[in-house]
Each structure stands twice: as C-alpha cells, then as structure tokens.
Amino acid sequence: MAMENELFRNLKQKPVTLQFPYEREEPVEGVRAKVSWNIDKCVGCLLCVRVCPGNAIEILGRGRKAEIKYNIGRCLFCGECVDVCPTKAIYTTKEFELVFNSQREMIIHFKRKKRSGSD
C-alpha cells in the first residue's frame, strides 16, 4: 500500500507511452543510424571496409572508380566508418526505422554516375 499516493497522482497525469506509429520522437542530434555514401567523394581507400566490425561494406573496383555495396543487414550502426572516412564521403542519416521484405533489399549499391565523354 506504500504506493497509493503515487497511483492517484498518476491517475491525473497523461500516460508516458508513446503511441509509436502515430507519435514519433525525433531522433537525437548525432543519432547513429543508417549510413549513406556520397559516392562522388569516395576515393576507394578501403579504410571503411577495414574498420567495419560486421563486414557490412563491400567495395567494387579500385580508387576513384570504386563502388560501394552496403549491407544494412550486417550493419551495427556503430558509425566507425563515418569517423574514419578521410574525404567525408560517408555520412549518417536519421533513418532508423529500417524494414525490408527480403535480404536483397538490404543491400544498397552506391553507383557512380556515368560521366559522358570521360570514359
């Protein structure tokens, strides 16, 4: 019975539950969520591949032509790759509600735009 006061105080308060699909809390500043590539800045240095604890990043090609395959299913969202990237090509987005229907959808392929004339 030691909680009776608290019970009645709560009767007057609004519930603290967040009704998730209808109410959403804004992710905090600096949340670690899905990362994304600004592929034009990527120099293919392989640093992100090396530090990634879950081996989520695969790199195709070398140097300036490198393309990134990012497997969200293996990503731990640690943000280590964002910290390590020398050209700041990797950045964190605020997407944290990540739902996929198949494993194939989880792999995001960052392609370079074909520059006309240069190839």
Partner: protein, 392 residues
C-alpha cells in the same frame, strides 16, 4: 510427493534461455540442476578471426545491458598491451558512462524483480524512470543500448556543456525516484514479505562459491573492482562501496538502490571535475605480443577479460568471464529450500544475464538437425503437418 519441474528454457520469469531442473517437494525446492547452452554465439571463437578494432564492437555485443562494461574491459586490455595512457578526459567520460549504465541496469533490475513478485505497477514505474537515463545515454552516444562509446585509446564522443546541464537535471529526477523506491521497498509490507529472508546466501558460502558484484555485497562482502583495483577515473572519484548484511533478496534490492544513489553522486562529481583535453589518441593497428588481464566492475559484478596477442592484428585468445557465470553456483545454493513461488524472485536476485555467461562455444548447435528455414519452408512444413493431422 516430489516431482520435477522444468524451469526454462522458455519461461516468463526468465529474460533469457536457461534451464533449471527443480525437484519440488510440496512447493519446496530440494535440488537444482542448471543447464546452460541455449544462447551460444561462439564469441571467443569468432574473436580469433577479427582484428582489434572490430572486436570493440563484438565485445559490446556480449551483453545488451552491460555493453559498456564489456567494451571498456576489452579496450583497457588492448590499451595495456599497447602500453597506452588514455587521456584524462576520456577516463572521466568512461566513468560517467559506466555509472550511467549502472543506474540503467539497476532500474531495469528493480522493475524485473517487481514483475517476478507480481508487482506490475512497480515494474512499469521503474522502467518508466529508466527511460530518463536511457535518453541521456542516447544523447551522449547516439544510441540507446549499444553505446559504442568506448574504443581503444579513449572514447568516441565528447560530453558538451549543454549535455552536462541536461544530465544534471535528469540526475535530480532520478535521485528523487531512487529515494522513493527506497521508501517503497523498505515500507511496503508485501514486498518485504516476498524479499526478507528469501534466498539466503551466507557470507561463508558467498566466499567459497566466489560470488561477485551486488550478490556478494548483499552478503556483507565488500568486493568491488572499482575500489580494489581502480580503473578509468575511479581512483580520483570518492565513493562508497555499498554493503548490506541481510544476505537475502531484500538486501540485494537495497544494495542496488543505494548503488543508484552512489552512482548519481559519482556522475555529479565527475561532471563537475571533468578535465579539459583530448578524448582519444591514435593507436597502432598491430599489437605487440603479450598477455594481459583486465577487470571491470560491471553492474552485475566483476568482469574479467584475458587477452593474449601474438603480434598480428588479431588476438590469439580472448577469454571473457561475465559476472553471471560467477554467480550461478551461488544462485543454485540460494535456491535450495526456497518455496517455488519465490524461485523467480531469487533468480532475478542475482540479475542473471545468460547470454553473457555463455558467450563461448560454437555457432549454431542445432545446425545438425535443423536447416535454416525461410518463411516458405516453414509454411510448407506447417501445411504438411496439418494435412497429416486432419487428413485433408
């Protein structure tokens, strides 16, 4: 009449899979046989194929609740191998986050224990208040559970001035709540009936069975790595090792609630005396040969990591001893003679974290019998089963 009752691997009172085989005589437990091995992940084996930088995150995933304690323990081990001196500010931030994790864990524990006692309201309140501290951790680190704060050579994120203000505000709230829970747990007759004198572990037994953490401290043994072997900034922060002499679940409750208050004091002190400077230093990827042992007081007790390196960028052997494994024998001792109704409370009393205790062994043990099924296989299997049963 005596009969055997399986407790687990799936049971509402257990958050994780462990099996206790109880022999019951008129609702009284006569013998206990624990059986681990339902949540193997083979972390120690995986570790041999990952480099040191990646292992920080693997170590974090040993446990969902005391993740920072494991990451900190591992980072300290590697730093010892490298002979690094961590910057002053990083050590203080580590202390702050470790203590915040302790608060978070103890509130979680309070809620769970209340739930095992059938006290749903206290469970809801404790977890509601836990949300406050989780938000603070979220604000500092950007994540709610696996903070990813500790790394080799320091911490990854700094605590800024506005953050300090918000943390202090939340600490005030948490302190009020901790006082309130002390009142509830010492006054409420029903909680007292369910906890006092339940699950006795005498100091002698606790010593012989090598109990650690709050379990040992509730039996009057002042065993705390933070005091015995100061790591991070614990050498510079004044604090008290909380002990109670009740040896029962009630004492374990008081130890934890008092530790919340103590942690709040530690955080306040550390925030006030936060030194300026860098938070991280550069580290080489190759680690010289050697063997080190690192110990950390996780919220549940002593955490021990043994690390042996062979001069490459991957460790030779990484041994983890999580607090629950150390407390498991004490738990079995406590359970004998206990009423069946008190079993969940006693089990919750040591704050078990099964995944921590058995991170070892090898990937999927059922691989031999079961294939990995996707949804379609499962659907087909279910249909066949029903056809067989109903003859359609």
């Amino acid at each position: 009449m005596s009969f055997e009752i399986p407790f687990g691997p799936q049971h509402p009172a257990l958050e994780e899979s462990i099996n206790f085989m109880f022999e019951i005589e008129e609702e009284r437990v006569v013998s206990v046989k624990p059986r681990l091995g339902y949540v193997h992940r083979g972390i120690e084996k995986i570790a041999e194929s990952r480099n040191y930088q990646q292992l920080v995150y693997l170590s974090e995933r040993i446990c969902g609740i005391c993740s920072f304690a494991h990451a900190l323990c591992y980072s300290q081990a590697v730093e010892q191998l490298l002979g690094l001196e961590v910057p002053e500010r990083a050590r203080f931030i580590r202390t702050i986050v470790a203590e915040m994790e302790r608060i978070q864990n103890h509130y979680l524990w309070l809620g769970l224990t209340a739930k095992e006692m059938g006290f749903e309201t206290l469970f809801m309140y404790a977890w509601r208040d836990r949300e406050t501290i989780i938000r603070m951790l979220d604000m500092i680190s950007g994540k709610r559970v696996h903070y990813g704060m500790s790394t080799i050579g320091g911490v990854r994120r700094d605590i800024t001035e506005p953050m300090i203000k918000r943390i202090e505000k939340s600490l005030d709230h948490l302190e009020v709540r901790a006082e309130y829970y002390t009142k509830v747990c010492t006054k409420d007759p029903l909680i007292l009936r369910r906890t006092v004198g339940v699950g006795i572990l005498r100091p002698r037994e606790a010593r012989a069975l090598c109990a650690v953490g709050p379990t040992a401290r509730a039996s009057g043994i002042a065993r705390d790595v933070r005091a015995d072997e100061p790591y991070a900034a614990y050498g510079e922060v004044p604090f008290r090792v909380v002990t109670y002499r009740g040896c029962d679940v009630a004492s374990r409750t008081y130890v934890r609630i008092d530790e919340i208050k103590e942690s709040i004091k530690i955080i306040r002190y550390a925030l006030k005396n936060l030194p300026e400077g860098p938070i991280r230093i550069k580290v080489p990827t190759r680690v010289p040969e050697g063997e080190v042992i690192s110990r950390v007081e996780a919220p549940r007790g002593e955490n021990l990591h043994f690390l042996k390196s062979n001069g490459t960028d991957k460790p030779e052997r990484w041994k983890i001893r999580a607090p629950t494994l150390a407390n498991l024998l004490s738990l079995c001792k406590m359970l004998i003679g206990v009423n069946l109704a008190d079993v969940p409370v006693v089990i919750a009393g040591i704050d078990p974290c099964i995944a921590c205790a058995e991170r070892i062994a090898i990937v999927d043990v059922n691989m031999r019998k079961l294939k990995v099924w996707n949804g379609e296989d499962l659907w087909r299997y279910a249909n066949e089963w029903y056809q067989k049963r109903y003859g359609r």
